[in-house]
Symmetry: C3
Subunit: 468 residues, 3 copies
């Protein structure tokens, strides 16, 4: 059997379905542009084999293990490393069996689409994973992983990836990117500038981080001017490893547009640890505006990923650390929050600020009206929980009527699950094709226009938004 329906995600009415299929086929073989994500550059630098099926599909994928946990499987039994006490080794085959036992839990979720897509198209599996065939499928994947065709670089090529961006902190030495550059393989895998550790006064070791920031840039990061210069130098350094964007993950979308004296004073307090919670928030907001100003100088695209209440479970955070599926969104304001930054740079025509949200209520109420007016603003694709058929459908239906297609930026997979990259882009291309076909079928778009837009959504807009 085929795990994946060849007409999946297309409209059910036959004429619309036919058009959706044609639209999809016109973009299905385009190379993948992945301008934002969290793959580990080391994979491509060392090109070692992936250790086993559990470490490929379960342990790194918080979508997968948190679903199993929600139904009573323990994190430890899934091999998630403890950060508080020493981790106990768990047999990867046992993890895989637990995953197979709970595979029905993913019915109706994008995870099941991504997993089935990877199983079928990457590993040639042709049965639905379950308790009875867990071992056989494990053995099948395991044997393939030991072959050269399943090494990271080979898969990268198989996946038809034209560009993959990873994300590194400002203090990262980019050693893996250097190793890739120095190798005879030239991906391309590029980096992204993510300065949270030297921008957020609440980040663990902020002051020490800023000291280190000075050391590696040769700037006096104890002064406001030197600190900003350090950012400029570091951004330039990241650009030599292909960076075309910076990325910022804040609890809110707050920005500030303070005068230099006030900004400097906040920075001084941050360094000495005397900054209040409110001031720290203001400082983060000011730094978004500073980054936007630097983007005007150096051309990096600015990405704002706001609204995740990270580490909701204290127990999980203490035992297992960050990014373990217990990050829960909350309401996020963009209208008042972004105003200071937009007053400073919003009308600039040579600046791209991409907004992401986990609060879908802002699509039609805030983000589309903002992006449909300010030249500097664009909307990122549906993020995280909303990187799915329904999520993409809601995004298009809620934003297109106000800001059109050309204030959006194509697709991001934003993943650390490497094998899901083709699957995610496929879902995106199919979902957009379905949406476009429906517009045509209901007289809201002409067929020829739909083919042009499909090309832009799958490929062109990502290249232009990220200056690729």
């Amino acid at each position: 059997m085929l795990l994946c329906d060849p007409d999946r995600l297309f409209p059910t009415e036959q004429k619309s379905r036919g058009l959706a299929r044609a639209l999809y086929e016109s973009v299905a073989d385009l190379p993948i542009i992945s301008p934002h994500g969290h793959c580990d550059p080391r994979w491509f630098a060392e090109n070692d084999r992936f250790p086993n099926p559990a470490e490929l599909f379960v342990i790194p994928d918080h979508y997968v293990f948190r679903m199993l946990v929600s139904q009573g499987v323990s994190m430890a039994d899934l091999g998630i490393p403890r950060v508080d006490v020493g981790s106990v080794h768990v047999d990867p085959r046992e993890i895989w069996r637990r995953f197979a036992d709970g595979y029905h839990l993913f019915r109706g979720t994008p995870s099941s689409m991504w997993l089935d897509h990877s199983f079928q198209f990457v590993f040639g599996v042709n049965e639905v994973l379950g308790p009875e065939n867990a071992d056989a499928i494990y053995d099948d994947i395991e044997s393939k992983l030991s072959t050269p065709e399943y090494r990271p670089r080979a898969l990268f090529d198989t996946f038809n990836i034209e560009l993959l961006a990873t994300t590194e902190g400002a203090l990262d030495d980019l050693r893996w990117h250097r190793k890739i550059r120095d190798s005879d393989w030239n991906g391309p895998v590029v980096t992204t500038y993510r300065p949270d550790a030297v921008v957020d006064p609440d980040f663990e070791g902020f002051s020490d981080n800023v000291v280190r920031f000075g050391e590696i840039t040769g700037e006096d990061t104890q002064s406001w001017a030197g600190y900003l210069n350090a950012h400029r130098k570091r951004r330039a350094y990241f650009k030599t490893f292909g960076a075309t964007a910076s990325d910022h993950g804040h609890l809110t979308a707050r920005t500030e547009n303070l005068n230099e004296g006030d900004a400097e004073a906040l920075f001084a307090k941050a360094l000495t640890g005397t900054i209040s919670a409110e001031e720290a928030d203001a400082f983060r907001g000011q730094m978004l505006t500073e980054m936007a100003r630097m983007s005007l100088e150096d051309g990096l695209t600015l990405q704002i990923h706001a609204g995740s209440r990270r580490n909701h479970s204290a127990q999980i955070f203490t035992q297992f650390g960050r990014d373990k599926g217990f990050d829960i969104p909350g309401p996020t304001d963009y209208v008042a929050s972004l105003r200071p930054m937009l007053d400073a740079v919003g009308m600039e025509q040579n600046l791209t600020i991409i907004l992401f949200t986990l609060d879908e209520t802002v699509y039609s109420r805030e983000l589309a009206p903002l992006a449909g007016a300010y030249p500097a603003l664009k909307l990122g694709p549906p993020w995280w929980f909303f990187d799915s058929y329904e999520g993409i459908k809601r995004f298009r239906e809620a934003t297109t009527e106000t800001c059109g297609f050309y204030n959006t930026v194509g697709f991001n997979d934003d993943t650390r699950a490497f094998c899901s990259i083709p699957a995610r882009h496929d879902v995106s291309r199919r979902s957009d094709s379905a949406y476009l076909a429906t517009l045509v079928a209901t007289g809201r778009l002409r067929e020829a226009e739909a083919f042009e837009v499909a090309q832009d959504l799958a490929y062109g807009l990502a290249k232009s938004a990220y200056n690729l």
Copy 2:
């Protein structure tokens, strides 16, 4: 004519429709599990006939009379009893005529589906109610109500109800449940523990209620430890009448996880009436966590129904009292609110906390991410205004992709309109069948899986979530 289209609520595209019909037919005759609702146990204890059509369909149903009121009919003319001055008798036939005059107001609402379903399937009516046939239909229903087949117990059996839960306050003597138990009929009709009157310091007569609570449990409810023990005893007593759940209706979803001394101090203030509004809110929040801890001991499922701004119209509340259709939802936060309780018990695998909301914006943003991570949390079905085709559709579309089907708990009718129970379960089964058929038709679920899930949504999940 048939009032109800045999293919109602199924997708319009023929292939999806055929599959939806098949899915529906596979669950249509399953017994009804009604694990949460507000029927009057006295009906089944005494088994008297229902007085007349108006008292069956209009007076107890705030969905019905508030719609008529919204278009200019007065509450008094619909026979809604005044609580401030003596009620004047209104001829039930006159009430019925006013209802028939306004029957077009319900077009497109779930009320019209429920009413037409009851008219057709319970009373054999085959014309749309309106001014011209109001009397004839009144007479028809009235004559049937006088027959033994239309007594409460007979209807209960006709409706194929496997279990019906009512809801009683902590001080209720459960006399009607006792009478049912002592009768030769064994429904089963079970109770649910609803302790608002002894948990909410703002409830009318809170202190006196707590005194009475002590009397009926034999505990010293003036002490924190005795008060908690009284709850334990009362929960155990409710369990002897079949209770498998407690229920809590709060304005917000606030919870607290205070240390014992702080909780005790709040309780003391509540008893003496010296508690501030903020402290009263904290106390209610603490009691949710206490109830969750007791659930860990005694296995009762905990239901949280948050977010209704009750009694919005002061005039209606003064003249007609509670539950008169003037309860309006508002934004409800779950992420920060539930955190204290979840820190205490959220990772427990032997606890079921069911969350209900009247703020649909939290489905995808808060509730599905929470339920898709914490083992103790499950999502209740769409509640109140959202117990409808579109409401169920939005719920499934917004939650399934993040938390799947197995973090939801099947259907609740949550009604005091007895005749609407089969109609509501029918709408739920049809709406879920339509959703599942659409998933299959768009390659997001396999057909065999859809049949399994349909069974779970209609029957299995309710039994497991409520420990039935």
Copy 3:
């Protein structure tokens, strides 16, 4: 070619499509009732020709120019007048070419539907506007504008408008309305009472406005009683020019129900400029309740348009002034905000208060439950960004199940883009027909009922809600 698909906006499934078409055809030729909008009465008073295509389609339409601006065209190059420095003349043909260059930006937006509809049905254009045909289409439209058939009054008749309401401030002398009345043409074009300049203490020149308000009404507007009387007189005066409604655009939906002394004290502070921001907000809220009370006296329908954060870009506001497409919605509470006014007048049966929102999250959570209970409340149609196929669909799906059709008021075009009026009503009639057909096809409404409701939505409800 035809720019507009004859079956646009109808469902794709053939049977539903056929029914939607039949429903649409039953209302397509009904006259247009436009009970709320912003056309310039001077057009109809003077009946001069429209100056050129750019001044007809681009310069007055903030939907159009802000989209071009969002993609890097400057406001100045689109001929938007500067308010800070003298405006430079821009060749209207150059503006038109810029518009044509960016016409693809409108793909998928309601603007493209409105523009194509106007191009095809008003001007007989049969090619999609673009860079290659920009000049030819400009010349075509320009030549038509010079003919008598394209004068404002002639178009008014061609558009089959039965009634058009404009909106004027309380201090407006209604000269254009007088000129229309005194002419041999009798539209009818009626006014609407919009008293923001004398009701909002933060309005530019508020105190002077109130003085002037006294002069034109002969009332002592320095006293609270005289000020209220001035409103009464001015409302009566507006009624002599056909007004059947007042309109109020506030940042929030806040209302107050203060006692006379408190209201009077706020008014005194407002006059002397000593009012705080919070008090000014309270005063605006109190004035909504005062207006509602006057509506009870004089029968004017009260319209509340809440929730727009006006003039979000300080730069655009400074350079180009108000209403330039940089007004961004935000979250808007109605439940707590409206309560004081509803306590005062909400249960009145001879009062119509129409609520509009830019925050779609309140449709199902707040507005439908309120309108489905309070006799005085009705829901206005989807406003501004949501006056579109998807916007109307979401509105119907989110509100109908709770408050039905008869607590809504038909369609408003709310536009200053005169040529878009037939297009907007057409979109509304088609979208409602599609919704009704879907209800019938899914067994939620009977076919005969759908035809009745279609008539009401397109025509009847607007007439009754606005007392026409």
